[in-house]
């Protein structure tokens, strides 16, 4: 059974349909990309899956359970993590604190224990610090551990954004344009990270504009245009699809 199932989801803002009857399936351990021209509804799709928007019609299932109406934090607790397109980090906190924040649900201790910072609170903090350090290690963020996120350069912040989503220890990771605005070198690093994350068994749904990257690393590709899925399949197949070519290059006169 598919890990994530989106079944004919329709999302409208007033009269505008951001998504119309979009269906999508993601298998466990897959790397699926969603592409499409600007305004095609890619980010809306992620917003619907991660619970920021609730669709007017359709259903979403994660591991067999319906999450259509669930709020973002409930969905996160079930194992779906998300990195935002426009970096949405906590700029007043350090990299370390940002990542520790993502461990929120794993830090199970009460207010009283937190107030004296002893026993369970201390133990859990140390334990989760270890988990966070592994991610810092993995994403090569060691030099920035205690730097305020607001003061970091753009490429690093993008990396922290992905690292924070990883710190949630998700089963399914949603990445919204993790390479946008990066230099070639930074992009290559990011691709390396994504492939590594996937190799560790995490399912990845990737939104990306760089078609070269998408075609290289994806197992399957969904193409959205004007809120509709116009093609779906392995990258080489999708690249040959006439409607996809039209959507990207325009219709020949």
């Amino acid at each position: 059974m598919s890990q994530l199932r989106v079944e004919s989801v329709t999302l409208t803002f007033g009269g505008v349909a951001a998504l119309s009857a979009v269906s999508l399936r993601v298998e466990r351990g897959e790397l699926v990309s969603v592409i499409g021209p600007n305004g095609a509804g890619k980010t809306s799709l992620l917003n619907v899956v991660s619970g920021f928007y609730h669709p007017q019609r359709g259903h979403i299932f994660f591991e067999g359970q319906e999450i259509t109406r669930a709020s973002p934090h409930e969905i996160t607790k079930r194992g779906i993590a998300r990195a935002f397109q426009n970096i949405e980090l906590f700029s007043g906190l350090t990299v370390l604190e940002n990542l520790l924040l993502a461990r929120h649900t794993y830090l199970a201790y009460g207010l009283a224990q937190a107030g004296v910072f002893y026993g369970k609170a201390l133990g859990k903090e140390v334990e989760n610090r270890r988990a966070v350090e592994e991610i810092i290690d993995f994403m090569e963020l060691e030099p920035y551990r205690k730097a305020l996120v607001g003061n970091l350069p753009y490429g690093v912040r993008k990396r922290v954004e992905v690292a924070r989503a990883l710190a949630l220890s998700p089963k399914l990771l949603l990445l919204d344009e993790p390479m946008a605005g990066m230099t070639l070198e930074e992009k290559e690093d990011m691709v390396r990270f994504i492939l590594e994350i996937r190799a560790q068994g995490t399912t990845v749904v990737l939104i990306e504009h760089d078609l070269g990257v998408v075609m290289d690393i994806s197992d399957r590709v969904y193409v959205l245009d004007f809120g509709q899925v116009i093609a779906e399949g392995p990258p080489e197949e999708v690249a040959q699809n006439r409607r996809v070519q039209e959507a990207y290059l325009g219709v020949e006169a």
Binding site: S50, F52, S71, P72, H73, T76, K77, A81, R82, F84, E88, L89, F90, S91, G92, L93, E97, L100, L101, A102, R103, H104, T105, L107, Y109, L111, A114, G115, V116, F117, A121, L122, E125, V126, R129, R130, E133, R164, L168
Partner: protein, 355 residues
């Protein structure tokens, strides 16, 4: 083994050590020395001077609470005096029943926390200025409600009994000293509690909803619950401050808990440094001392017989100085006194090196 007393940098070698509050032995010891100094300080001061210290301590508790709600969680609250009032009136009702003060203090805090929770409910939907209006509404409703309740003498003076602690009576001569120690103990306890929260998920959650509540939601925390928690906790501190103030002034009068005082606490939080723990003490310290000095200055001017067209200019000095200081801080040091504190501290931490 390196000498821990000569430490200038970060010697931490484990994650557990990295959770500690104090970076060096010197920091911990200097804080303990300072607390020791505060313990003996009243013995060298007159009753009036101790009263001023009492005010600073009580205000610090209230401003610390305001900093939790407004500074850390970013929820503008301009009704802190009303939450203090809730605590104070709780004390005015409970204390004459014979309850000991050390029970009345947390009870007043809890009742205020409950009201904080209620007032926080709009924060689930509205933000920024609109939320400020909601807290202002509470302030107005509070003043009106007290003014119409015969139970609370319609805002008139309600007497507070003198306190006693295991046979030790707070009489006329030692009243201010008694409440100095009681307030100091409460403040240290509450400050320590909050400082501990800051290194746990509760503290981080507060800052998360301030910086970006959308992303906070995606981190698996309920931003709504966090906001309600921030309001309730901030109001708890205010309620405790209200009880202390009620005991200290030996009466509860509505004038002590009106809107102007809410603004004063907000000013103290800003001058001290919004969203900083130390700022919660520096702000009240600075503004109370300013007020006291301006008062003596205006008395001096008055004594010189200086007045313009029959208007007593001297009495305008206090509000003028207060307003001017706030404007100057907003313009030149929006990060507040805390920033100066930070600079001085980092200088001493690395001394004799430059950085």
């Amino acid at each position: 083994m390196r000498n821990p007393w000569a430490q200038t940098g970060n010697y931490r070698t484990s994650y557990r050590q990295d959770t500690s509050i104090f970076a060096t032995h010197r920091e911990l010891v200097s804080l303990l020395l300072f607390l020791g100094f505060l313990l003996v300080l009243p013995q060298f001061l007159s009753r009036t001077q101790v009263f001023i210290l009492d005010l600073i301590l009580v205000y610090s508790v209230a401003v610390l609470g305001l900093n939790i709600t407004t500074g850390y969680a970013g929820l503008i609250n301009i009704g802190q005096a009303a939450f203090m009032g809730v605590g104070a009136y709780t004390a005015a009702l409970l204390a004459p029943q014979g309850l000991p003060f050390w029970l009345v203090i947390p009870l007043g805090g809890l009742v205020a926390a409950f009201f904080g929770f209620l007032v926080g409910i709009p924060s689930l939907r509205v933000k920024h200025l609109y939320l400020a209006m909601a807290t202002l509404a509470f302030q107005v409703v509070f003043e009106w409600a007290v003014g119409h309740m015969p139970l609370l003498k319609q805002g008139g003076a309600m007497d507070m009994p003198r306190a006693s602690f295991f046979g030790y009576e707070a009489g006329f001569r030692n009243h201010f000293h008694f409440w100095y120690y009681a307030s100091l103990f409460t403040l240290v306890l509450l400050a320590l509690f909050f400082r501990n929260l800051l290194r746990t998920r509760y503290g981080r959650a507060l800052v998360a909803v301030r910086d970006n509540d959308r992303a906070a939601d995606a981190m698996g925390m309920d931003p709504g619950r966090t906001k309600l928690f921030a309001f309730a906790l901030g109001a708890f501190y205010a309620g405790v401050a209200g009880v202390l103030y009620a005991y200290l002034s030996r009466a509860v009068v509505i004038e002590d808990y009106v809107f102007a005082h809410s603004v004063k606490y907000l000013a103290m939080a800003i001058v001290g440094g919004l969203g900083t723990l130390v700022g919660s003490f520096l702000g009240p310290l600075f503004l109370v001392l300013l007020d006291v000095n301006m008062e003596s200055l205006s008395n001096l001017i008055k004594a010189l017989g200086f007045s313009v067209a029959g208007v007593d200019v001297a009495s305008a000095l206090r509000p003028l100085a207060f307003g001017l200081i706030i404007v100057l801080f907003l313009m030149f040091e929006p990060r507040g006194l805390y920033n100066w504190w930070r600079l001085v501290r980092s200088y001493f931490r690395t001394w004799p090196f430059k950085y």
